[in-house]
Amino acid sequence: MAFGVAAPLLAAGCGNRPGGSGADGATAWALTGGSEEAFRQSFDSWNADHSDQEITAEYFANDAYKEKIRTAIGSGNAPTLIFGWAGATLADYVENGYVEDLTESTADLVERVLPSVAATGTIDGQVYAVPNNQSQPVLMYYNNDVLDAAGTQVPETWDDLLSAVDALKSNGIDAPIALAGQSVWPELMWISYLAERVGGPEAFNRVVAGEAGAWTHPDMVTAAGMITELVDAGGFGDSFASVVADAGADQALVYTGKSGMILQGSWIYPDFITDAPELVSGGGLAYGPFPQVDGGAGDPSNIVGNPANFWSVSADGSEEAREAATAYLSEAVYDDEHIDSLLSIGAVPPVIGLEDRIAEAENADFLSLNYEMVRDAANFQLSWDQAIPSDQAQELLNNLSQLFLGDIDADQFCSAMDATL
């Protein structure tokens, strides 16, 4: 039965291609989970309206995708629409001529996107990638019940944070701040925010630019020193290095009251709703921006995280496929239907002027804060491990975990990182 239906469709699909040169139609690879449902809906409705420019989408798990896409692009088998995180990987693609310049073809779309997010897909003033899903800023979550019990409150500044840690510790909380140290990447959020608050965007931009001594700059050393300070103060407890983020063991510490706070991406909020509905509905869960650092150069509105995921168009495919892909990008990405499907799964697309629509959505409080943080950010720093080349990123994760473990101090961390530039 299924074959009987599919076969004529396939035949019709082939017949529709002009020229019949055997060139394949447009393909897209994206990730499972997260905004997968929004992608599916978007492609389905595009394909329904554009039978001559159909896009075939495939979905992969995160880690598997990251390895597969590189091999595929390197060997000339890339999908037409390449899903990515921008940053250094995109710069690599551009340098090797693997992706198309989208500056003109997607000008209309880019105009509607929040500037701090659109900037991430731009290299040397040319657009090579356009955002395709929600913004994922990193923010602080607090368990108000735990903070109240210790007689402390949501910290506004770094010093507040340190005294909140003390208060929680003396109230019998072993790990005042939950941290999934075994996964290492959550540690990256701490150093990113601290460097941002202490030295502003320049602190890390120097690293991205590959300037000699970028890591041993006094601002970086200060930020790394603050990590050691917080670890030594027992901010993360003694056993953070055994905690894994994959299964959400870090946020579980917060909603079970074993920890008072956590620094994590906006993507963990839906899990709070599922796993601790009473805490959320009772107002026990608070969230807000990362604390400020007194005397720091960074704008307090600046944020860290994933501005969004991005589509790039492969330079390898047939002209026909590339045309279909760019047409899809300029017409269908962030159209009304796409925005609705994103909002319905609690994802906030980085599009200008969404305030009213978000206010009507479920969990409007959280989504509005999320949206405003992205809208008002003077700088949206892409996750460090995506922003720098992968060999440097690996060294960074490696050295950072040793910094958190206390195996090396701030100076050793910074000089070890300088050696990678």
Partner: protein, 306 residues
């Protein structure tokens, strides 16, 4: 082919002649598969170790740069040292335990079949599942320590650089001891009963029977099992990858893991290939060495008259 056929037919005619070996052609399927999937890629890896390649751009000749870089890299040296340590610890832990269990299970007393089945279970689980389960069990906040209300179990098992390697050795042992137990059990059952009867008549107790009969008679079983353990630990990857990912810090970043992370996370294919070549060389050297030292390559039978 013709020679083999001739020898075979002659052997068939004359039974008292030295029995002909099996036709060399029987090795062909294995050789072809081994050649295509092991030897050819091996040459590819050796070639890759002399170039710079990030998996994306074009290859560029690097000479011996990758080799000197790997030799001077503290992470890779630490990885080599950890691999040696892991191998030694694994053998020291697994060999005695599986020997004792194997000998115990070779007996024919009551409940042994049941126990043997229970001990065998871990071998049926996939490494990834074992690793994920142990990560959850060893979680200091929500793990087995909390469930049983036993504080001494709520350690920072996988987060303490001093402890993590031993935990890894334990989990590897947990998964592989059943396999080696099986080998020892089979080996022990091959030992002729008469030897024990004779020993008992000479007044040997159980301990003395174990040390004077069982152990010497298991010599080649010990060699086989130890070689498998050693080479297995040298190349052990999946369980550690899922259990710790090489962490905390570099505390469990053994050579195979270092190779993978260098190749598929840092995309430094040249240096990863160097590590792969080192791994192959060390593995071959160790298994050859073990065979040479223990004389297992002669492999003549221990039983009289056969």
């Amino acid at each position: 082919m013709t020679i083999a056929a001739k020898t075979a037919s002659r052997g068939a005619r004359n039974r008292s002649a030295r029995p002909a070996g099996p036709s060399p052609w029987m090795a062909a399927p294995a050789l072809i598969i081994f050649g295509v999937f092991a030897i050819v890629p091996l040459f590819g890896v050796v070639a890759l170790s002399f170039v710079d390649w990030d998996g994306l751009g074009s290859l560029s000749w690097a000479g011996f740069d990758n080799w000197t870089e790997a030799a001077s890299d503290p992470v890779s040296r630490n990885a080599l040292w950890l691999t040696i340590k892991l191998t030694v610890l694994c053998v020291l832990f697994q060999a005695p335990v599986s020997l004792l269990l194997g000998v115990f299970l070779a007996g024919r007393q009551r409940y042994r079949a049941l126990l043997a089945t229970l001990f065998f279970l871990p071998l049926l689980f996939s490494s990834a599942a074992v690793a994920i389960t142990f990560t959850a069990l060893l979680d200091p906040n929500f793990g087995v320590g909390t469930a049983l209300d036993a504080d001494w179990l709520s350690q920072n098992w996988l987060g303490d650089p001093e402890l993590a390697l031993y935990v890894v050795v334990f989990v590897i042992g947990w998964s592989f001891i059943p396999f080696h137990t099986l080998i020892y059990q089979a080996g022990t059952r091959q030992i002729p009963r008469e030897l024990y009867e004779a020993a008992r008549m000479d007044g040997a107790g159980p301990a003395s029977q174990f040390f004077r009969i069982t152990l010497p008679m298991l010599k080649y079983t010990i060699v086989t099992s130890t070689t498998l353990m050693t080479v297995g630990s040298l190349t052990y990857f999946d369980l550690i990858f899922v259990l710790t990912g090489g962490g905390p810090g570099n505390a469990t970043r053994v050579l195979p893991l270092d190779m993978y992370l260098t190749g598929f996370r840092s995309y430094d294919m040249g240096k990863a290939s160097v590590l792969a070549v080192v791994l192959v060389a060390v593995g071959l050297a160790v298994s050859l060495g073990l065979n040479r030292i223990t004389g297992a390559s002669r492999m003549d039978s221990q039983s009289e008259g056969s």
